[in-house]
Symmetry: C2
DNA sequence: ACACGATTTGTACACCGTACAAATTTGGTC
DNA sequence: GACCAAATTTGTACGGTGTACAAATCGTGT
């Protein structure tokens, strides 16, 4: 222990640390989106030259990675550990917590989807999920697969929620938008597709927490009560 | 009709069209990832000055949008329309088709997650899905919600599949990687989290089509056979 | 007081998206 | 065939990005 700590932090540490950088990145992300979270912007916010960041992080990717990890660290695991709460409710609570935590930083969500979710805290979340599912009676293998499925649902849902689904949410396609689109790439979107109005409505409506939880429970239903599989349809296709 | 077509295409159309641009963008995306698909790169591939692209597209975002739409256009809808095939198998077929089509262009997947999926072809896909679910006996409202859930699962699954999950897949964290990480952002990842080896194993294994379909069918199970809801847990939380 | 090492900074390079005006090519009209 | 107008391409340029390199600065142990 004493030997481990021998090499003390030296040098002119004035303002910046890893924490400062990550926090600056997060705040910039919230204010101005992904584009605002630049190395130069981060450095300017801390009051430091851009290159100073490279003392603590080798890459910008590393900064992003650390920021994502920082977000995962804010997720409260308390509900997971409480054995008083029934397991389904526990998962529901953590799904809500995760969603609210991530939706607080929409810019960051775009960063982790397709990005680095392999940090220790992100994996720890998956680990806890598996434990809960195992305690619900699932076999270790099924619990692992189920945990992955749940993660997919939660993140996929949040991603599509936060995503820029264009102007579907805000307004029906007016003539102006159509004109602009046709001017932009006419030959590609020249064909017409039958589109009912309900599609846009549903996508606009699904952002609610209520429907998020509805989907979550349908997934849980399928996990805990899988239907007996007929050998002719799904299994046959999967075996190839 | 005749009046509509009066303004004929004039001018020196030598090499570039919307199609050429999109195809160049896609090929560059496949070869070098997102960073390679730059306006300058696309223009260079067609043998044109970078600015020439802006004749056909107002933005780079428009190019991305068109590329994503182009991908959706490659998805074969045939299985959807065939009433001979049982509906569950139809959904399975389209899920496989979509997955294979998207996995052929991993770089593009990162583009659409959190990106523009509001094109006519993307919406048409959702529309067909709703039709199949409705024909399976679901009410229009439930069909709409179920379609959204399925889209979330399919895209979330593919996204996590294609995503750079770090080195989890490839190798266990060796001392070298740990050292590099600690050198990069020591104070943040200094804490240790309990991590079982199975987490990494499961994530590494789940890329298989078999498990992708397993999850799909569990979701379908939950959709077609939702458990009777107890008023104390989920519904109470959702009502708030 | 001195030196060492960690940290910060200045400068610079290659790349990005894209705005603007000038040049080029084409089709239709006289 | 000459001309015009419109569509397309290009040259140049600006501000932005990530980041490599060497020089300068500062805190700390001896």
């Amino acid at each position: 222990m004493a030997e481990q700590f021998k090499g003390f932090r030296r040098g002119p540490r004035r303002v910046s640390t890893e924490q400062d950088i990550v926090e600056a990145a997060l705040s910039l992300l919230d204010e101005g989106g992904v584009t605002a979270a630049s190395i130069r912007g981060i450095a300017a916010r801390i009051g430091v030259a851009p290159n100073a960041v490279y003392t603590y992080f080798p890459d910008k990717a590393a900064v992003v990675k650390a920021t994502v990890e920082h977000l995962f660290g804010q997720v409260d695991h308390a509900a997971f550990a409480d054995p008083e709460i029934p397991w389904r409710r526990r998962i529901e609570l953590i799904a809500i917590e995760l969603r609210e935590r991530l939706k607080a930083h929409p810019g960051a969500v775009g960063l982790m989807i397709g990005g680095p979710m392999d940090g220790p805290r992100a994996l720890a979340l998956n680990e806890r999920l598996m434990e809960v599912l195992a305690s619900a009676g699932l076999s270790p293998t099924d619990a692992a697969k189920a945990a992955y499925l749940l993660v997919v649902y939660v993140f996929g849902s949040i991603a599509l929620d936060v995503a820029d689904l264009g102007d579907i949410r805000q307004a029906p396609p007016e003539a102006e938008r159509i004109k602009a689109r046709q001017a932009g790439f006419s030959s590609i979107t020249a064909e017409t597709y039958p589109l009912s109005a309900s599609t846009a409505e549903v996508m606009a409506r699904y952002v609610s927490t209520e429907q998020y939880l509805w989907g979550l429970h349908r997934v849980l239903d399928g996990l805990t009560h899988p239907l007996p599989q007929k050998p002719d349809s799904a299994t046959a296709a999967a075996a190839t």
